[in-house]
């Protein structure tokens, strides 16, 4: 098994995770933090036979993130008969076992309503992009929690529209330049984010959030060209109190003006964002 390790190490060195400036706009409650801490302790003590075991709980670098994914993916395939695997699962397993899988790790800040609320949901997620080492084509994507636990995995399949593997994910700083030119401001601290709401950013195709220090406004751009603005004084709602059920969401949405959308900031907070483009 030397070859996969070499490839993993090379991929990890090549795609270094940069996350020093991660930020968010809402705080978790004491209850949420305690729940997540309890869960984290259970995860750190888990044994390889446990259902929530990962070899590197709360991975610290790309190599550890990739190791956690590989362990869980291999486990899920190990409890399947080969004939029951989907072709895309077989392909990914073959690339992994054959040492031909290149993996790129992208940190995505978790601004969804799950952050702080779910015990297993942390401040950050990781997007893993998997490439066939020979053809360099992207064959799958997966998201991991900051704990290293798997979330969702998407495979390149025929007939997918939109074909996500053809949609470029620009570097955060490049997105900040593009949006900055659009709004005529200098934007900083660009990072990938995932959100819920009527302005939704799937972690498999994350948005970019960035700040304008001069106007105290946050901008969020998705990968389809849409941009929304979040001023500091934007109206905010509590998920637990204002948006607890779909009927509540419907009631709140009826109060929004044209061009306004609801977007989660993480924790219990949803905010009204304004369409820019």
């Amino acid at each position: 098994m030397k070859t996969p390790l070499i490839f993993t190490a090379v991929a990890a060195a090549f795609f270094a995770t940069t996350s020093a400036q991660a930020w968010n706009l809402s705080q978790c409650s004491e209850t949420g933090l305690a729940r997540h801490a309890n869960y984290s302790n259970v995860l750190r003590r888990a044994k390889p036979t446990d259902r929530m075991y990962v070899p590197k709980p709360f991975p610290q670098n790309d190599a550890q993130i990739i190791e956690d994914f590989n362990f869980q993916f291999r486990y899920l395939r190990s409890v399947q008969a080969p004939e029951q695997m989907r072709p895309q699962e077989k392909q990914l397993l073959a690339l992994l076992n054959g040492g031909r899988l290149d993996t790129k790790v992208i940190p995505v800040e978790n601004w969804t309503g799950r952050r702080c609320l779910g015990a297993r949901d942390g401040d950050r997620m990781y997007l893993l992009r998997f490439y066939d080492g020979r053809t360099h084509s992207e064959v799958a994507r997966a998201t991991l929690q900051d704990s290293g636990l798997m979330d969702a995995t998407a495979y390149r399949e025929p007939g997918v529209d939109p074909a996500w593997w053809t949609i470029a994910i620009p570097a955060p700083d490049d997105a900040a330049k593009t949006v900055g030119a659009l709004v005529g401001q200098h934007l900083i601290d660009a990072q990938y984010v995932t959100t819920y709401g009527t302005f939704e950013c799937n972690a498999l195709l994350p948005c970019v959030s960035m700040r304008s220090p001069s106007t105290n406004t946050t901008y969020i751009a998705d990968q389809s060209g849409h941009v929304v603005a979040l001023p500091t004084n934007a109206k905010r709602f509590s998920r637990a109190h204002d948006l607890a059920q779909v009927e509540d969401i419907e009631r709140v949405k009826k109060t929004l003006a044209p061009g306004q959308k609801l977007m989660s900031l993480g924790g219990d907070v949803y905010a009204v964002v304004e369409k820019v483009k």
Partner: protein, 236 residues
Amino acid sequence: MSRKLSIHLKLVVSIAALTGWLMACNIDLSPPTQTISNQIPYVAQETGDYCVPASIQMSAKFYNLYPPTQADLFADMGGQPSGFGPGGVEIGQIAPAMALYGGVGDAVMDHMFFTDNTFLARQISAATQPSPVIALINQGYHAGVINGGQWHKETDPNTGGTMYVWDQLHFHDPSGGPNIAYTAAAWAGTNCGDANPVCYDALSNSAAQAGPQVMNNYDVVMYGGDGGIDRGPKEY
């Protein structure tokens, strides 16, 4: 009685006796692991608001029906661009449209908090019939269709009995692609769990009720969970 007939008779009697014994002892003859694909055709949503119409179309195509266009379905459900429910369709419109256009005549909108641990049992009961399930995800802002999943059996270390591990679920996301695989614990956070108490799905009422009674004694846990917080619904 000829020797040949005698052998056949013995064989038939043996099989009958064995079957009777297995049934009487409630021996589990299910395979040790299973991956279920419902072969529901995938449909992408044509605009940011059309996740529900795309889901209705998937349901209809599963039954080889020819559904209206997404725009017509959206209009028929009273949808409004950037409107009020999941993708602009009010929640109360989904099940009637699923019944009228999606081929699920007894479609209902199931809605429970996670404290009711039969919600996921009904959902998986319907999905494994198989029958389309339109599940709301991401705290009620998006919808798609369940296309199957994966489970396997283990020995429960506490009881020594058979334990069913729900490994993952396959979800047709109209804006994300077909067969997005969620680990079971991740699905609970996405659709109905401690991170997502907004639990809704539209499904066949009869299909939803068919499974839990049969599976009442099953011992189910979720992969990716810790066996406590994320222990699966007992009824499934």
